[in-house]
């Protein structure tokens, strides 16, 4: 088995194994260290013995042994002096192999990593590290921070969990709505990070796949939570459009101009099914409406069909009743401009608190676009410059520079 294949095996097994060990021994650090040690032992043993039939079971048993040895020594710090385990599996091990089922404690692990007592900026990173088995390098790249800073953040988070007595029990169902909120917002933050850059560099698109996987896991584990389904649908709709988000020259393509024939139909089908489940579970929530907005777009078959602006506006009106914030108002203004004209939409934007939105790129981007359409070139130019000063991702930056150039041309002509 190649190094890359082994790495895939390790990664696939890591979440489940760390989850079980953490749940059983009440320590994230111990579980994580034991799993790493098991991987080291596998790399040493497998070239000689061959890769076992069930590599996950081998890793699980090996990691369990590491934990027990460490506990026996009463000090995790002395783990380096742990004697090597016997290289040959015992008779019980061999017999146990096929029937070996590693209990699924990943939900518990997700709830621990996303506990509201953990710093918000550490929750997503901790979840990706422990539940998905992403490497520090991958996570650091995705969050655009130094690896050392990430390591410190994770150490702090794990220490907080251990010292403050965060429960390793799954909370009783009556606490789920509140705790699930923290889990879902963590996943949303993680996905928006992956989605930010339209061109989706390799590191980021891989990371998006992990978030997709996590949302899938969540609906499997919590089949009665409509927001879990809504988020799972939402990220699939967004991900389905990835191939159309950037054109051949590396320019961002706005949603209404994306060619629906490039969208991933299978993924859209998956999202439709998830959203239907969410809809059956109760009245609309803000997340459900957001997923429906995505569906409205993804229902488009070709650029020949008119964009679904009236439906989009209707959905934003409903969303505003549930969640009145600048983000919703700005997006609603985009649809409003298409239905009632850019001037009306600009008036809506005027009502927002500009000072608070100074660093919010979508605010300036929408204002720029609406101003340009209303023929206010000067205002549009300033707003585009404001977006550029916030350092947007490359594909968006190129697109804005092209719009700016077009504005200059118009001014010269007129």
């Amino acid at each position: 088995m190649s190094g890359a294949a082994l790495e895939r095996v390790f990664r696939a097994a890591s979440g489940r194994i760390i989850a079980v060990l953490a749940a059983r021994y009440r320590s994230l650090a111990l579980a994580e260290d034991a799993f790493s040690e098991a991987c080291v032992r596998a790399l040493r043993a497998w070239p000689e013995t061959g890769v076992p039939d069930d590599p996950a079971a081998w890793l699980y048993r090996s990691a369990s042994r590491v934990v027990l040895d460490a506990l026996r020594q009463h000090s995790v710090r002395e783990r380096h002096s742990i004697p090597e385990p016997p290289p040959e599996p015992s008779v019980e091990d061999v017999l146990a192999d096929d029937s070996m089922v590693i209990p699924d404690e990943r939900l518990r692990l997700i709830f621990i990593c996303c506990h509201p007592a953990v710093a918000q900026d550490a929750r997503a990173a901790l979840t990706l590290r422990l539940v998905c088995g992403l490497t520090m390098t991958e996570i650091a790249r995705a969050f655009l921070i130094e690896e050392t800073a990430l390591a410190q953040r994770l150490v702090r988070a794990k220490r907080k969990i251990a010292e403050a007595g965060v429960s390793f029990e799954l909370p009783p169902p009556e606490f789920w709505p509140q705790r699930l909120e923290s889990v879902l917002s963590t996943l949303e933050i993680a996905y928006s990070r992956a989605h930010e850059d339209a061109s989706g560099t390799a590191a980021r698109s891989h990371f998006a796949a992990e978030v997709l996987h996590l949302t899938h896991l969540l609906v499997e584990l919590l089949p009665a939570e409509r927001d879990a389904f809504a988020v799972a649908a939402l990220v699939r709709y967004s991900e389905a459009r990835r191939p159309a988000r950037v054109d051949a020259e590396g320019f961002m393509v706005p949603l209404s101009e994306q060619d629906p024939r490039l969208w991933d139909r299978m993924r859209i089908g998956e999202a439709d099914a998830l959203l239907a489940r969410a809809g059956n579970l109760g009245p609309a929530t803000a997340r459900l409406l957001q997923a429906q907005l995505q569906r409205a777009w993804c229902a488009r078959d070709s650029l020949g069909e008119p964009p679904p602006w009236p439906e989009v506006l209707r959905l934003y009106d409903r969303l505003l009743d549930l969640r009145d914030d600048p983000f919703v108002r700005i997006n609603r203004a985009v649809a409003l401009a298409q239905v009632s004209g850019p001037e009306v939409a600009l008036q809506e934007l005027e009502r927002l608190d500009r000072e608070k939105l100074e660093d919010f790129a979508p605010y300036h981007a929408v204002r720029a676009d609406l101003s340009a359409r209303a023929g206010r070139s000067q205002q549009a130019r300033q707003a585009y410059e404001a977006v550029l000063s916030l350092e947007p991702p490359p594909a968006e930056e190129r697109w804005i520079r092209r719009r700016l150039a077009a504005l200059e041309d118009d001014t010269v002509k007129s």
């Binding site: 403050a164 007595g165 965060v166 909370p171």
Partner: protein, 114 residues
């Protein structure tokens, strides 16, 4: 696990010297809450106002004393509960129900040692 729940409130809303009907009403609520907590509450107290505080500070080995709390803040430590519960979640649930006169904050801190 044992936790201290530190209660921070703006004491200027009470009469000077932390007395008066406003405070008496709040004390009544704390007494009822203490009853409700039963064996989970293992200690705690309400504190007199910061105007009664004296701070002893050590700097470079030298002790100085001054009148008043250790720091001026919008909200002051007004009392604390010591509880013995299964987990942080349980401590947080208790913290959410600690009576407050109006606005305020409860800091949940695990206690060192067993």
């Amino acid at each position: 696990m044992k936790y201290a729940l530190l209660v921070y409130e703006d004491e200027s809303q009470f009469d000077p010297d932390k007395a008066g009907p406003h405070l008496r009403e709040l004390v009544g609520k704390h007494m009822a809450f203490t009853q409700e907590l039963g064996a989970r509450r293992i200690g705690g107290a309400g504190l007199k106002g910061t105007s009664t505080a004296t701070t002893v500070r050590t700097k470079g080995g030298k002790k100085t004393m001054h009148d008043g709390p250790f720091a001026e803040a919008r909200e002051q430590l007004g009392g604390f509960y010591l509880v013995d519960v299964a987990s942080l979640d349980e401590a947080i649930e208790i913290a959410k129900r600690v009576p407050l006169a109006k606005d305020g904050a409860i800091e949940v801190r695990p206690v060192m040692g067993p």
